[in-house]
Symmetry: C2
Subunit: 354 residues, 2 copies
């Protein structure tokens, strides 16, 4: 090994989920929205002044921040945008978790949290969810360097309500609490309203799920002026432009099209609930989902077996070979037609085995 | 101060250059290209499948990496892309500079280097450029944790050749050497050819200057497989997608349009050399530029005075109130028409004072 290699950062490369090249594949493995983005976002992108791309984008993301502030009845000082919520969350970990005490988050949750902790040398402690995959707020009463709660949680799909979040906040006034709301638009409750009361609360959201803009990489955070200005300083010092001009234009128009947003979110929720009912009819145990995916297990067939069977038949779902959840499947809610195809395949499998 | 505020990262927010909202302003303060991006990039953006934006982008940036590898006669394993070269450079600092010894770079150079060092807690030592703003390679012979050379350098506009870079590399085999080539497409020499010989060399470039895509935020790096795989691992662990789908499409098409690229770069270089000659005719001392900007000073008028005068007359150039360079202006090369307007204004000012 050369001497210079000793100073390379030693980090395990992340392995992403499969991205089949074949268009005939029904892709239910990345929690993408089955519907296209708002037609207003398309119009904004089509009308983007191409020659202006020679110039740097708006350095503060001002138009999209204005649109998000207005939509959420907040001040612009309470809104931050970044390149997807992964970017926003990683920056928040960097900006807020500088204590020597461990940060706390559930053992079953978004798999990037430990990766960022390792990368940024942040100590952390996992709090086990219970046998029903529920988070116990009491686990977060102990002294810590910060708290991260995905609500709804992933890959469990379970959402907690206002009382739960307030309980966590009331017991954590000396650290920053991040509520990761990647899926909250499909859930009954969002904690954004609490940022006015708790200036140590940061709520993150994304355009990749409910707004069908995964391809544009836009995420955002809501919080007190103090938290947001700290996030901005860290982001600016790292990279002076939050989003490219095309992403800003598309995201901005999407926020302004509330009708389309509500319509597609509602449609996904309806399909989700109908699919959950069908799966339960086949003997699956399906957790109550407040997201755009279902987390399900079957008593007669292993999750891995079902995963392989669906894949052979052109339906990609997600299977995590990890402790506690290795007999569950995470199934993204697609169109009614996609869900029907999947349910027909599953009926065949389940009937064949009974 | 609340207890949680004690764990916020303490960092000075970066203050960006002025971005006048007025379209009549001649904007020569951000080293943007005066010409639009390649028409092929426009076509790619216009033909982008809008509905596909609901899906995550290509996780590895494969098409753009393929195009860049082909264009530079390299293997895909030697190419990395990120959200602008600021993103690429910050990741490289994070990935490669983990020694306790200071990294070395010139005192007059790109202003983000010390910011990233502070953010990432990397010790550094400045090596003073000489009175002609030239970098002395011997300053980089001492033991260090890494070397960063912007070539051509900014804001001086001076380029060094192959012998200079080889000299630095021959004396720095135990650390990673980054050559930041944001402006190299306007210069006679690029060190990309050396990555096959020196596996500790990383060369970074950008689509923001020579390719007129500042609004799309695309930067790249070339290096040995070892360096690139380390960069990828760090990037992936932080944010699993390198670029949004629109940026990938536009950048990819731009790389494939070599004719347009050469044509606009040559035009900028011609305008640059003509403008430098005119400025010298007015008594300006102008450094020999191998970039898309000029670095100039005048014996009779202070840079600050000229800066304010031009600004009042609708021409924005860049002035840095910093030691050693506070009597210089950094003037981006615009169109011939823009340069003529500026030169006419300057002639008036200089004539009035003589």
């Amino acid at each position: 090994m050369s001497l210079w290699e000793k100073n390379l950062l030693d980090i395990e490369p992340y392995v992403a989920g499969e991205q089949p090249g074949n268009d005939k594949i029904i892709k239910l493995n990345a929690n993408e929205n089955p519907y296209p983005p708002s037609p207003m976002a398309e119009k904004a992108l089509r009308e983007l002044s191409f020659t202006e791309l020679k110039k740097y984008p708006d350095a503060n993301g001002a138009p999209i921040i204005r649109a998000l502030a207005k939509r959420n009845e907040l001040d612009e000082k309470n809104v931050f945008v970044g390149n997807g919520s992964d970017d926003v969350l990683a920056l928040a970990f960097r900006a807020f978790f500088n204590s020597k005490k461990p940060i706390l988050y559930p053992d079953i949750t978004y798999s990037f949290y430990p990766v960022w902790c390792d990368l940024l040398k942040i100590p952390y402690k996992l709090c086990a969810v219970d046998d029903d995959f529920r988070i116990d707020p009491k686990d977060y009463y102990e002294e810590n360097g910060g708290v991260v709660i995905a609500n709804p949680n992933a890959p469990t799909s379970i959402a907690e309500g206002r009382d739960f979040i307030v309980d966590i906040l009331e017991h954590n006034k000396d650290c920053v609490v991040i509520v990761d709301e990647a899926y909250a638009d499909f859930a009954p409750y969002s904690a954004v309203e609490l940022i006015k009361q708790y200036d140590n609360l940061l709520v993150t959201q994304t355009f990749s799920k409910s707004r069908s803009l995964a391809g544009m990489r836009v995420g955002m955070a809501f919080g007190s002026e103090k938290l947001i200005s700290c996030l901005r300083a860290v982001k600016d010092s790292y990279n002076s432009y939050p989003l490219d001009s095309a992403a800003q234009a598309a995201a901005c128009a999407s926020v302004e099209d509330e009708v389309y947003f509500r319509h597609t979110v509602l449609k996904v929720m309806q399909t989700r609930d109908e699919t959950a009912a069908k799966l339960r009819g086949m003997g699956f145990s399906v957790l109550d989902s407040a997201t755009n995916f279902l987390f399900a297990t079957h008593p007669d067939r292993t999750a891995e077996e079902i995963f392989e069977y669906l894949k052979e038949n052109g339906v990609y779902v997600r299977y995590f070979k990890k402790p506690r959840i290795d007999n569950y499947l995470r199934i993204t809610v697609g169109t009614d037609e996609q869900m029907n195809t999947m349910c027909e395949l599953l009926t065949k499998l389940i009937t064949a085995s009974s």
